[in-house]
């Protein structure tokens, strides 16, 4: 199941673990990324609070947690080469995985069609 937030994060749910990243639309707006700061494994995230930071040459942007949950894995390859996030934001450029605390929160997110309409 693929879901989107109105803050331009995506998440793909596999069982109770969600993979999270920034959308292709966000990546295009940000331009070349040169640095990413990811949460620590085990960190407890709160929906809507800053969970990661992506930085272009000119600015730093917060990436917010789409749901409550606990970080289970981070994408070390993206830390080593932040450009990956820009070139493949919804694939190899994923940011972190989290165990979702409350699946009911998924109802508040957009599906693919709704997100495409939102950024159109």
């Amino acid at each position: 199941m693929l879901k989107y937030t109105d803050e331009h994060e995506w998440l793909r749910l596999d069982g109770e673990v969600a993979t999270v990243g920034i959308t292709d639309h966000a990546a295009e707006q940000l331009g070349d990324l040169v640095f990413v700061e990811l949460p620590k494994v085990g960190a407890r995230l709160t929906r809507g609070a800053a969970a990661a930071v992506v930085e272009s040459v000119k600015a730093a942007s917060d990436v917010y947690a789409p749901l409550d949950g606990e970080v289970t894995e981070v994408n070390e390859a993206a830390v080593q080469d932040p450009a990956t996030i820009g070139t493949d934001p919804q694939g190899a450029g994923w940011l972190y995985r989290m165990r979702v605390a409350d699946a009911g929160q998924l109802d508040g997110l957009m599906d693919e069609a709704a997100y495409r309409a939102f950024v159109a």
Partner: protein, 387 residues
């Protein structure tokens, strides 16, 4: 994350606006103008292309002010300008340009600018955000002796090691110019011929030129420059990262009315003739404080900063002497990622005792203290054509 895509109405457009749109630029509001932040090539590649070949920047938002002596004698205009600029205006030869500062009574920096002697008038190029206040200041200070006119012209910067060859195809005399030369030239042919001003300088740390020309000639001239395979358009984003690597100040960030020339490391712009013991000592706003500071040394200084890690340290970050100190000793005024250095770079102010290359400090970023080292400026040597 937050993505701002809202169009901002009521912004002024430069004569090259249509060209930016056609090139697919992302436009942003800057000093009341819609300006290109970057083109589809992207900030990083625009920056690197400028260092390797040539980048073309629209800087038409900057203020161009002509100062003409009412008497017809340039020395009269020079003497008038020396009452607001701590510069050797009288000693500036025709066809030459100098960097200068407009100072306040308190000794602060109202603006920084370029001043060119163009034979029968001086041309001042000032920061976009300050052009209205600079014009008012100049009218007040030199308006009795000089006509002061804001020129509504385009301004194009062509920067990089390929700039000379690209410009010389259109303006042959450009090749013979040295760093800080200023020439009046003709661009275009026949009925489209217009007078333009070319100066060999810029804001990137590279060799390059700035070309001031009438709005109705700007599009054709810019298209002709872009027809050179080595020339790519570059936006304000690359302009900022290029000037940061070159250690150049941005007024409003690194210098402002609260900083003085000595603090900013810009005392070199004030020549001996205007300093203590000079033939035309003082006589400009804030002279007492400014000249005392130059003679005795300021309490704080602008420095370069190299973060040890990969995290960019940006404007506003507080600087601490160690990881535990409660009180900051300074702050970052410009910072980001240097594409040519492939590392974060920053500038800021520190007490003079700490403003020594190699001094290790800590910058606070998102609650963490990250180690940074004081570094000499510029971060990379400039490519100016001095001879």
């Amino acid at each position: 994350m937050s993505v701002d895509t809202a169009a901002v109405p009521s912004l002024r457009e430069t004569p090259l606006h249509g060209l930016h749109r056609d090139a697919g630029a992302r436009m942003v509001p800057f000093a009341g103008y819609a300006m290109p932040l970057q083109y589809p090539l992207g900030l990083l590649k625009e920056h690197l292309h400028t260092r390797q070949a040539a980048g073309l920047f629209d800087v038409s938002h900057m203020g161009q002010i002509a100062v003409r002596p009412r008497s017809g004698a340039m020395a009269d205009a020079a003497r008038a300008l020396e009452t607001v600029l701590p510069v050797d205006v009288l000693g500036l030869a025709p066809g030459r340009q100098r960097y200068g500062l407009l100072t306040s009574q308190a000794g602060g920096i109202l603006d920084d600018l370029m001043l060119a002697h163009l034979g029968d008038h001086y041309l001042l190029v000032v920061n976009a955000a300050n052009k209205a206040s600079d014009l008012a200041h100049l009218l007040d200070a030199v308006g009795q002796d000089c006509e002061v006119e804001a020129l509504d012209r385009a301004l194009i910067a062509l920067q990089g090691p390929g700039a000379e060859a690209a410009l010389a195809r259109l303006v042959p005399e450009a090749g013979a110019m040295r760093f800080m030369d200023a020439r009046r030239v003709t661009v275009g042919d026949g009925e489209a011929a217009r007078e333009a001003v070319v100066v060999r300088s810029g804001y990137t740390g590279e060799d390059g030129f700035e070309i001031a020309l009438p709005a109705d000639a700007a599009v054709a001239f810019t298209r002709a420059l872009l027809a050179d395979a080595g020339v790519r358009p570059a936006g304000l984003g690359a302009r900022d990262s290029l000037r940061l690597e070159a250690g150049l100040c941005l007024h409003g960030s690194d210098i402002d009315p609260g900083t003085t020339p000595a603090e900013a490391g810009l005392a070199w712009a004030i020549p001996k003739v205007r300093r203590r013991g000079g033939a035309r000592e003082g006589g400009f706003p804030g002279a007492a404080r400014i000249l005392q500071e130059i003679a005795e040394g300021p309490a704080r200084l602008r420095v370069g900063l190299r973060p040890e890690g990969r995290t960019p340290v940006r404007a506003g970050a507080a600087l601490f002497p160690d990881e535990a100190a409660a009180e900051p000793v300074g702050a970052v005024t410009s910072g980001g990622f240097g594409p040519s250095l492939e590392a974060p770079v920053a500038m800021g102010y520190l007490p003079a005792a700490l403003a020594v290359p190699g001094t290790r400090l800590f910058a606070e970023v998102r609650g963490q203290r990250l180690p940074v080292a004081v570094a000499g400026l510029p971060f990379r040597p400039a490519g100016f054509k001095r001879t």
